[in-house]
Symmetry: D3
Subunit: 135 residues, 6 copies
């Protein structure tokens, strides 16, 4: 609940996401599979570049208060070259639009970002994941 004190939140998050995405896609449901494919397609380079789209995904996740989605897009944003200042400005939009109810999610977002930066040397999330794999 509080999101406090996870030992290796980045690795755990990545492993669970990967395992369960495989479980979900293993079931023969075409609507679910197409939705996952469409989700991947959404963030591809187009009229807007990948970085801008990831920022859009991040702020949308933040105001909808989905911790896993926020973590996912924080990692993607970093991989796309978003600086910490840009990240915080995106957070500020999410905070003002979504209100103080966003604060606990912001705390976990910054915690995740801190851990991501701390675990950088070891080739964590961004390096590991092959493509936009459905948050």
């Amino acid at each position: 609940m509080s999101g406090a004190g996870e030992g290796d939140r980045v690795a755990e998050f990545t492993a669970f996401r990967k395992r369960m995405n495989e479980r979900i896609l293993a079931h023969d449901n075409q609507v679910v599979r197409r939705f996952f494919a469409l989700d991947t397609q959404t963030y591809r380079d187009g009229a807007l570049d990948v970085k801008t789209k990831e920022l859009l995904g991040l702020v949308a996740s933040l105001v909808l208060r989905c911790d896993d989605c926020v973590s996912y897009h924080v990692a993607e944003c970093r991989a796309a070259g978003v600086t910490r200042d840009e990240m915080f400005e995106t957070f500020s939009v999410g905070l003002v639009v979504g209100g103080s109810i966003v604060i606990p999610h912001l705390r976990r977002a910054v915690d995740f970002l801190d851990q991501l930066e701390g675990s950088e040397g070891e080739g964590a999330v961004p390096a590991e994941k092959p493509a936009h794999d459905h948050r």
Copy 2:
């Protein structure tokens, strides 16, 4: 946050729910008690059968992104004879109506369903609970 790696999520979930429902109903607040009774009544057989009503409860819980409610209705749906294909079609409606923000909850729903099926032999959730006990 990520919902990864719980040892015995089904049993833990059931125990906490049971204990706290008792704590809540122990307090003399008639509105709260009546709400709990009404919640139980809602899913009884009527013009729609129990199975359909549990599917309605499941999809409503999924689009509102409440993990505990989803877990509860996944267990109830199984007890009412919902197949895995039917479960996934319900998930697909929740996913398309609610969007990618639903995905992390879908992952935890499938994880819970997997654990539920794995723990079946031991007389888990459905057997234990006496009636619709307020998710």
Copy 3:
């Protein structure tokens, strides 16, 4: 806001939806177009029949408090043979899951249903629409 007193709410709703869907799909954005196609596919007959899926769409729309989506699924449910009793049981699930905040939307849902039944003779919504056209 209050949704009171519209002269011909059913016809107006249908016309606006049709016109704007065409405007949206006229723009060359593949993600948007695929989403609309996927939305249509979601409610097709499968492990669950069309009627059950429309009930799922209705309760999901109700708890998410989207009047247009509710109106759309109320019309689809009627076309799929849902009775007024079944409709109200679905409303009751939405009301208990979503709370009193759902009441204003329930009022508009019943108003729409009343108008739909009143306008039946004239071959309104269900007759007009060719297929599941994206609420």
Copy 4:
């Protein structure tokens, strides 16, 4: 959508609510009827007085962004003796908790309050309604 320029918003709102509540309660669905009764009971004098409970109903409606619910509780709050300063402090909590997304609803709340105060002499909402009639 914009909520602008309604001629007699208070009277229209009251009439539609009354008419549709009767339509809803006319249908023989016990869960729906009990929910409506429970809703009425919720705001009765108890450990907290009516005024405080109406303020709670108002702020909950505001952060959930339900215009009709906000209008209803604004009227009830006035009937319970809430001053304009107290109303605005309640709005401020709703605004900070819920974020800028609340602003359009705040605009309509203040518009409704203005109209309510303007229509006072004519024995509007508070006088007309017999009891807490389900927003």
Copy 5:
């Protein structure tokens, strides 16, 4: 509800927003006033430029399904030079993240954009408003 057929939606929206913002700020509540000022500050040029921030505001408004907020940011985006292709890519992110429940709001967003482009010659919204005036 359906958002269909408003005569001059852009002008009406602008006038109501302006009038009610003045009413709200006329009341001596410092928290409310500071929130409005903070809201304005949020979208100023910084590490991210105004255009990107308005896109963030747009997608956040879309997934939270606030029509007035969407209208406001659609107008601001146009004023900041966002093209129709970029607007639709932002819509596509909002649609995939938020799900089909977003569709009715997307319809009204495109309708508003159409009207905005149609009313351009007459010096509508962007010309009229002095600054970021609190959606």
Copy 6:
């Protein structure tokens, strides 16, 4: 997810909140910092007293289903002298307005309250925190 069985949830929650608030405010983003200051100001004594404002914050947090925000306001309410009866009446408003989807959060709220009362003797949360420190 289920919120079951945390050893020392109160202390853990307080420590994580404190640490991350410091991390967030350490970053030079004026909008974020001003939002945090505004949040603190919101609950100060005014036309409504601190106790009423904390009850407003609690019910708003409950219907928006934010566990951390609920925990925070439960602690603040107790510090402001709210009795258990008053707390439950506030819960009842949140439950009826927000629906059964609120129940899991209500369970965790009561669990937190129980732990808070149990840990009272040791000078827990209320004593530790200097002021309204941004949930």
